[in-house]
């Protein structure tokens, strides 16, 4: 029951972050939204594991968290050195 409530809160947060990612306005806002989205996805995986009685989901959450951080740093590095289309305004 409480797991469902936490999962619902996380899903709503994900939706809010998606709205921010759509609105922008700068690329950094979108990246921040994606970062929040990643954290929410990670927590959601953990909660879903308990909700369904399958704690193996925690391994997925760990891997997802690692990829999230590495992906964020990689995108920013690429953005600084290679450019990512029309950035900013």
């Amino acid at each position: 029951m409480m797991f469902s409530a936490a999962a619902l809160a996380l899903l709503v947060t994900t939706a809010l972050a998606l709205v921010r990612a759509t609105l922008g306005p700068t690329i950094f806002d979108r990246l921040q939204a994606v970062n929040t989205l990643g954290t929410c996805a990670m927590l959601l995986l953990a909660v879903l594991g308990f909700l369904g009685g399958r704690p193996e989901f925690l391994d997925l959450a760990l891997v997802y968290g690692l990829l999230n951080v590495i992906g964020m740093v990689a995108v920013l590095k690429f953005f600084r050195h290679g450019g990512l289309g029309e950035a900013g305004e």
């Binding site: 409480m2 797991f3 409530a5 936490a6 619902l8 809160a9 996380l10 709503v12 947060t13 994900t14 939706a15 809010l16 972050a17 709205v19 921010r20 700068t26 950094f28 806002d29 990246l31 921040q32 939204a33 970062n35 929040t36 954290t39 929410c40 990670m42 927590l43 953990a46 909660v47 308990f50 704690p55 925690l58 391994d59 959450a61 760990l62 968290g65 690692l66 999230n68 951080v69 964020m72 740093v73 920013l76 953005f79 600084r80 950035a87 900013g88």
Partner: protein, 112 residues
């Protein structure tokens, strides 16, 4: 029996509060006026929201392998999320995105 109940109650309170703080972060992400202030809102989700939800799950798991893995997820967030935030904020700063400040006098001196 009553100890079980107490533990369940604590864990539920943590889960609910954690979900609430996550929502606050999401709301702040929409309400705040500029990028840097949005970051502060998002860090509520990353720290208090994530921490309380993981604590709630940890109370359910107890001293098991699952609990150890939850701790690892927590430590990962604890160490990695400030690094990601800092990299993002620094990239925005280098790109020249100026923060909106309350005192505009300080704005001139703070440009990199």
């Amino acid at each position: 029996m009553s100890l079980e109940l107490l533990r369940d109650l604590a864990s539920w309170a943590c889960l609910l509060a954690g979900g609430g703080f996550c929502l606050v972060g999401g709301i702040g992400l929409l309400r705040m006026p500029d990028f840097y202030t949005r970051m502060h809102a998002a860090s509520v989700t990353d720290t208090l929201g994530a921490g309380l939800i993981l604590l709630g799950l940890l109370l359910q798991a107890g001293f098991t392998l699952i609990g150890a893995k939850l701790l690892m997820v927590g430590l990962l967030i604890f160490f990695a999320s400030p690094t990601a935030s800092h990299v993002l904020a620094r990239a925005a700063m280098i790109h020249g995105l100026a923060p909106q400040l309350a005192d505009s006098a300080e704005d001139a001196s703070s440009k990199p």
